[in-house]
Amino acid sequence: MKKTYKIEVDCANCALKMEEAAKKVAGVAEATVSFMTQKMKVEFAEGADPKAVMADVVKACKKVEEDCEIYVD
């Protein structure tokens, strides 16, 4: 399953860091962050619960880039 989330991040490099961090989270099969459109696209691994996984993704991203915002609704 794929989902797209709106994000807020200030610099292109930070977006790259978030992408790297999100990819490493368990339950994430693939993640892409676009700095230009301010969006994060996450492909979840089979059987993963998007809500729980996204909570981890937010945590991981906050760790590498404090100022980032991910709007999970």
Partner: protein, 632 residues
């Protein structure tokens, strides 16, 4: 400016004012250090915090870290100088931080602005749909809530929010936002309309045939918004590059500070540690990779935005990049290079006038619904008085005989003429020939064929001018027709009489014969082309307005059916790539030079700031040029 940016702006002003004031304050010694610490912390506290948190999280080598080390180093150097009885230099460390923040702010504003411009260009999202209630008042509702089969009202000046069929009203629609085409389209009752068009003149009532999420406008928006998710090779290169680059620079800076000092000590010379430390710090400031990291995605995003404003949808930066290296273009014939509509192209009368021949033939064929008779009627262009046609007899596989105003007319193929025992002009022309006999005498023939699009020949030429080596046309049509069209359009190679499966094989063979660096693009009208579209390096669907299958299978979608758009897309792609390379060479070049000058002690901290912030700003401004597609 966003709230965040405004806050930084205020901090920049406060720090600048403090800096200027401090210049005139007659304080000396460590008190001066304490005073300079105020503007330093005002402007740089967030950078220091981020650098600190970065170290805690094991994310060491980023730009915050570089700036923090460089400026803290500069401040400590001042303290060291004070302790040696000299006057400490504190202004430089603060200035570096200040200029870094100014540069970052400028960059953020510029990127934000171009993002807004590009998204505005793509903004075809309708905000609401009008529904009429019982008393005839219009109510605005969220298009997402409109069910299939609902009647919606579109007033002049409003966007059509959902795909549907007109049930009442006539109007012209502006499709420019979808196709880049400025000629408006007229729609009447019973015709289909596509969401995203703007209603120009009359009030339209439309019965929706799709949900909002399935409508054309939603599909296009989804496609464009996700396009920057597919990253180009250049972007991936820079990501990898930055991974090795920053640590390499940091270790070099460390070496620059330590090795010469050690050598000096060993040789018995004065250590000169401060000189080398300043050089190492300058080195760090120069090395920030931001110019590349930001300008490359921005260039591609701008190029995709610019292309979509001309009705060219590119599904990813990678495709925009690949398009520049396209050396082989394979076309489908019908509907792509030709109009896919049969038209009367030649009239050869014998013994009667052209008009008379066309009129008699159109009358004789008037009862038939065959495409051939339709095109005859269209060419005749006048109302057909059916009362004057009688004794119509269709002869299967031959043609038709009828009496028109008392004159017997026979219209059909060569077999019909032979059957009537008439001699006729033997023609091998491409297309369908309709022979006509009037009152038992051969009266000439009318040629009906699929015509090339006006822009096809020009498009082939433009592609060649853009570096395409070979153009190939694939068609299921007969050899004679295919070769005739190919010669007219100057196409290099033709493969005719192909079945749909053969097209995949033909493309497969071409893919095998080319080198890996050259790309092959397949251009089709999206009908029955899906396997070939996905097999080619770049699949281009043309005239895709309203065809979901094509939008899904293709990598690049040309919204209208003008083949010139492909050449335009290639030009945009080449321009975009040129700008990307310019930025890579410029940024790396300036940095390399400054790094050497910094290591040799020629470059000051001020040059270092230019090498970082200045280069980034120039690269960003250059990248924004991708958006402009007027003079590519």
């Amino acid at each position: 400016m966003t709230k965040k940016q405004k806050k930084v702006f205020v901090r920049i002003i406060i720090a600048s004012v403090l800096m200027i004031a401090l210049h005139f304050v007659p304080v000396t010694g460590y008190a001066r250090f304490a005073l300079y610490l105020i503007p330093y912390l005002v402007i740089g506290y967030d950078i220091l915090r981020k650098a600190f948190l970065g170290i805690l999280h094991g994310e060491v080598f980023d730009e915050n870290f570089l700036m923090a080390v460089a400026t803290v180093g500069a401040m400590l150097l001042g303290v060291y100088q004070e302790s040696q009885g000299q006057e400490g230099e504190f202004a430089e460390g603060v200035a570096v931080m200040l200029f870094y923040q100014i540069g970052e702010l400028f960059q953020a504003v510029a990127v934000g602005k171009s993002r807004k411009n590009i998204t505005a260009l793509m903004d075809i999202r309708p905000d609401y749909a009008n529904i009429e209630d019982e008393s005839g008042n219009l109510e605005q509702v969220d298009p997402d809530d409109v069910e299939i089969g609902t009647i919606i009202v579109v007033q002049p000046g409003e966007k059509v929010p959902i795909d549907g069929v007109v049930v009442e009203g006539t109007s012209t629609l502006n499709t420019a936002a979808l196709t880049g085409e400025s000629v408006p389209r007229t729609v009447r009752e019973g015709e289909e309309v596509i969401s995203g068009c703007v209603n120009n003149t009359g009030l339209l009532k439309i019965r929706t045939t799709k949900e909002f999420g399935e409508s054309t406008v939603s599909k296009i928006l989804d496609l464009v918004e996700n396009s920057s998710m597919k990253k180009s090779k250049s972007e991936n290169f820079i990501t990898k590059f930055a991974k090795y680059y920053t640590p390499a620079v940091c270790y070099s800076a460390l070496a620059l500070a330590v090795i010469p000092t050690v050598i000096n000590l060993v040789m018995g010379n004065p250590a000169n540690f401060t000189t080398w430390l300043i050089r190492a710090l300058t080195f760090l400031v120069i090395s920030c990779p931001c110019a590349l990291v930001i300008s490359i995605p921005l260039s591609f995003f701008g190029g995709i935005g610019g292309a979509s404003s001309c009705g060219i949808l590119v599904k990813g930066s990678n495709y925009l990049e690949a398009l520049a290296q396209t050396k082989y273009v394979v076309f489908d014939k019908t509907g792509t290079l030709t109009k896919g509509v049969f038209q009367v192209t030649e009239i050869h009368p014998e013994g009667i006038s052209k008009e008379e021949l066309l009129k008699l033939t159109a009358y004789a064929e008037s009862y038939s619904n065959h495409p051939i008779s339709k095109s005859l009627k269209e060419a005749y262009g006048q109302e057909i008085n059916k009362a004057s046609v009688s004794e119509v007899e269709e002869i299967g596989g031959h043609g038709v005989t009828a009496s028109v105003d008392g004159v017997s007319v026979a219209a059909g193929n060569a077999k019909l003429m032979r059957k009537l025992g008439l001699s006729y002009a033997e023609k091998t022309n491409v297309g369908t020939v309709v022979h006509v006999a009037v009152d038992g005498v051969y009266a000439g023939y009318i040629l009906i064929s699929d015509v090339e699009k006006e822009q096809s020949a020009e498009a082939i030429q433009a592609l060649k001018a853009n570096g395409v080596k070979k153009t190939v046309m694939l068609t299921g049509d007969s050899k004679a027709v295919a070769e005739y069209v190919a010669e007219k359009l100057h196409i290099d190679e033709v493969k005719s009489e192909l079945l749909p499966g053969d097209k995949v094989d033909a493309v497969e063979a071409l893919l095998q014969s080319k080198s890996a660096k050259e790309n092959l693009a397949f251009v089709g009208d999206g009908i029955n082309d899906a396997p070939v579209l996905s097999r080619a390096d770049i699949g281009v669907a043309m005239g895709a307005l309203g065809s979901d299958a094509a939008i899904e299978a293709a990598d690049i979608v040309l919204m209208d059916d003008n083949p010139m758009k492909l050449a335009l897309a290639m030009k945009i792609s080449r321009k975009c790539l040129r700008i990307v390379y310019e930025n890579i060479v410029f940024a790396l070049g300036v940095k390399a030079i400054c790094l050497i000058l910094g290591a040799l002690g020629i470059a000051s901290m001020w040059l270092a700031i230019f090498a970082d912030v200045g280069v980034t700003v120039i690269a960003v401004l250059n990248a924004i040029r991708c958006l402009s597609v007027k003079n590519v």
